[in-house]
């Protein structure tokens, strides 16, 4: 059925189309250029990213290095869960972190029933949307991004890109080496719904808390914004 349906549909489309050559079509698309992106909420890239993460109802911690990252994760875990356990993918970058120094007990693999918190290492952070980009792989099970009650995402300052156009440039470049993954996810905030009388509720199906740990040389002003927001959220 699908074969004959395919020919029938393509016959209709060819009739409706302009019958241009591939070269002309590609040239025309190229001539249309790229879209305009919104202006960032601040000129400094970390500050702009943090402001947009907060706008998406995420929380942010800024850390200078991996040791501090582990400490920040421990500080996040204990008040919420009274323990230091989390689940994370088999990402070599995460396996190499000094977990023991802060007493954090990671389990490497895919989230299972009864495990409330997972950590992912983002491939990119998109300043324009305050989003973290991940893609599926051995090291990043999809369940860890969509099933936990709390989702913690580590974003390296060097992986921040200003716009979604720049994000695609980086993604396409990275995938040239590894091949295309099954899924690419731009995640911007905790799961939410307003389906009951328009009231906004977090944790519709996925995480109801989304916490970003921004790793790198983050300017003091940006750090202060993140800290002030955390104090308010507490």
């Amino acid at each position: 059925m699908s074969g004959s349906a395919r020919s029938e549909i393509f016959a209709h489309l060819r009739e409706a189309g302009r019958g241009e050559s591939e070269e002309n079509i590609q040239r025309e698309r190229l001539s249309l250029g790229s879209a305009s992106a919104p202006a960032p909420p601040a000129t400094e890239i970390c500050q702009a990213f943090i402001l947009n993460v907060l706008k998406n109802q995420g929380s942010v911690a800024c850390v200078n290095n991996r040791a501090e990252a582990v400490q920040a994760i421990a500080h996040y875990l204990y008040p919420h869960f009274h323990n230091y356990r989390l689940v994370t993918g088999n990402d070599p970058r995460l396996a190499a972190m000094p977990w023991r120094d802060a007493g954090v007990l990671p389990r490497f693999g895919s989230l299972e029933a009864g495990e409330p918190v997972a950590l992912s290492f983002a491939r990119l952070g998109v300043v324009e949307t305050g989003a973290a980009v991940t893609w599926t792989s051995k090291a990043n099970p999809a369940a860890n991004n969509f099933l936990p009650e709390h989702h913690i995402v580590l974003v390296d300052k060097n992986d921040l890109v200003p716009t979604m156009e720049k994000a695609w440039e980086r993604i396409h470049h990275a995938l040239e080496k590894t091949g295309r993954p099954r899924g690419i996810n731009f995640i911007a905030g905790p799961s939410s719904t307003a389906d009951i009388e328009g009231e906004l509720i977090y944790g519709a199906h996925g995480p109801h808390r989304w916490h970003v740990v921004l790793l790198g040389d983050v300017p003091v002003d940006a750090q202060n914004i993140a800290r002030a927001a955390q104090r308010n959220q507490c």
């Binding site: 059925m1 699908s2 349906a5 395919r6 029938e8 549909i9 393509f10 209709h12 489309l13 060819r14 009739e15 409706a16 189309g17 241009e20 079509i25 698309r29 249309l32 879209a35 305009s36 992106a37 919104p38 947009n52 998406n56 693999g109 895919s110 324009e128 949307t129 305050g130 989003a131 599926t136 051995k138 099970p141 999809a142 369940a143 991004n145 969509f146 979604m164 156009e165 994000a167 695609w168 396409h172 295309r180 099954r182 899924g183 690419i184 996810n185 731009f186 911007a188 799961s191 939410s192 719904t193 389906d195 009951i196 009388e197 328009g198 509720i201 944790g203 519709a204 199906h205 996925g206």
Partner: protein
């Protein structure tokens, strides 16, 4: 496609009497309109982006055969299986075949308006499958046995109380009272979580298909679509052939317009791109990914004067701003697609004969066109459909003769002006003492809700002529 648009006028009359629902609808759509306006204002280049996406969409539709074939090639390269469906029957059978090949008994569905168009749920259920809608709004209306009332918020017509009663009937709640809205959300989350984990097949829709890399784009806030896409062992992505865009950056540029127009966000919580099965060494994800691409008259629309309707990105802004939609609600339209977009799309996807009342559900106020991020001239398309309705003599004879008379009068201004002057004078004489009319012949619908005001003694044309004469004499 199942539709009951013949009953629009009766449905609308009933809906107008439900004041509580109308108030809720008005509150939610007004809020959505304000949030949209604020998000658009903050994005200074919004109009520039609209024009850019318009050009991209036109270019894609002009070369749809090329881009669809490129998408198919790339999706297959990613390991996906691509199927084509001419109509609803094709799509439903293809999906059932895939489910049966995998001995599936449970299906978890993300929001897919396309499968609502084809009636997929009842088709799969009649073959013995359990099909669960997982978007919260869709889940609520599925449990209630109702149809969607809004493209973005399907259960917008239901109050929290009604939803609480529904869950009390359908779920085993024990001592739980579900007092707060958040309790209702948690209840649905718990029930649906089980279903996600047990379903063998996940079905989702797509907001766009990307020709250059063979991925679909799915935009959601709840994340239910992502659970459907990642947990079951088979994934089926159902969408229509006109959704293809050339580049990945075109899809995310469109999502800038979509997120702001629908919910005022920078980006919906989850913007996800899927293609192909689980890769080697991965511990989750489907073992097979299928695309089922539906035509259902869209290739005909492509070569018609209505082709711009295919550029719709399903943001719901036209519904939120439509005075008719706000008065009668989405269910009155008797179709999967409601509001201005539905009033154009339904006749084109079914037949004007069965749905000619819908293009008349318009005051020509133009708000839908003003807020449409795809710049679709909705009032013009509705007018063209009404014109076709006239040519095909589908409306009631009294309407047709009435319009003919009006048209004749409009082409004979001196007679029009004389008759207008006489009738205005009579109305003035009759009403000047009481100040308004609570009843008027031929206008009972109008006067049922408010008084008709008494006109001035003379018409605008009379006053204008008198004034011109005066100034000429000077």
């Amino acid at each position: 496609m199942e539709q009951h648009s013949e009953a629009f006028l009766d449905n609308a009359s009933k809906a107008l009497k439900n004041g509580e629902q109308a108030q809720r609808r008005d509150r939610i759509t007004s809020l959505a309109s304000q949030i949209r306006a604020a998000a658009v204002e903050r994005f200074e280049e919004f109009d520039g982006l609209k024009h850019h996406i318009k050009k991209i969409r036109q270019h894609s539709l002009d070369n749809l055969d090329y881009y669809l074939s490129q998408f198919e090639k790339e999706a297959v390269h990613n390991g996906s299986q691509v199927h084509f469906a001419r109509n609803s029957e094709d799509l439903n059978s293809l999906v059932l075949d895939i489910c049966q090949q995998h001995d599936a008994r449970r299906v978890a569905k993300g929001k897919s308006i396309v499968t609502e168009e084809t009636g997929l749920n009842s088709f799969l259920q009649s073959a013995g499958l359990s099909v669960m809608e997982t978007d919260l709004g869709e889940y609520i209306i599925q449990q209630a046995g109702e149809t969607s009332s809004h493209i973005v918020s399907p259960a917008l017509h239901k109050s929290a109380n009604e939803i609480r009663e529904l869950f009390q009937q359908k779920h085993d709640l024990g001592a739980r009272e579900l007092r707060e809205t958040s309790d209702l959300v948690v209840e649905a989350r718990d029930v649906l979580r089980e279903h996600f984990l047990q379903a063998e097949v996940g079905i989702i829709g797509a907001n766009a298909l990307i020709a250059e890399n063979g991925y679909s784009m799915l935009v959601t806030n709840e994340g239910n679509g992502d659970l459907c896409a990642n947990l079951p062992r088979v994934l089926i992505i159902c969408t229509t052939i006109d959704r293809v865009l050339p580049l990945a950056e075109d899809a995310t540029a469109m999502s800038r317009l979509l997120a702001r127009s629908a919910t005022g966000q920078l980006q919906s919580c989850y913007t996800s791109f899927y293609s192909g099965p689980r890769r080697e060494g991965e511990i989750d994800g489907p073992l097979e990914t299928h695309f089922v691409l539906l035509d259902n008259k869209r290739s005909n629309i492509l070569s018609s004067d209505y082709r711009e309707i295919l550029e719709c990105m399903r943001c719901g802004a036209c519904l939120n701003h439509c005075p008719i939609y706000n008065s009668v609600g989405g269910q009155a339209y008797g179709s999967v697609h409601s509001g201005p977009i539905g009033s154009v799309l339904t006749p084109l996807l079914t037949s004007l004969e069965h749905s000619h009342l819908l293009p008349n559900a318009c005051t020509s106020c133009g708000r839908c066109a003003a807020v449409c991020p795809a710049e679709i001239p909705l009032p013009d398309l509705l007018r063209d459909l009404r014109h076709e309705e006239g040519i095909k003599k589908l409306s009631a004879p009294r309407w047709r003769y009435g319009l003919k008379l009006h048209s004749w009068l409009a082409r004979h201004p001196s007679i029009y002006q004389t008759l207008a002057a006489i009738s205005i004078r009579i109305l003035y004489q009759l009403g000047r003492k009481r100040g308004g009319f609570s009843k008027l012949p031929f206008a009972s619908g109008w006067t049922s809700q408010r008084d008709f005001p008494v006109p001035q003694e003379r018409t605008f044309t009379q006053l204008y002529k008198a004034k011109m004469k005066q100034s000429n004499e000077r």
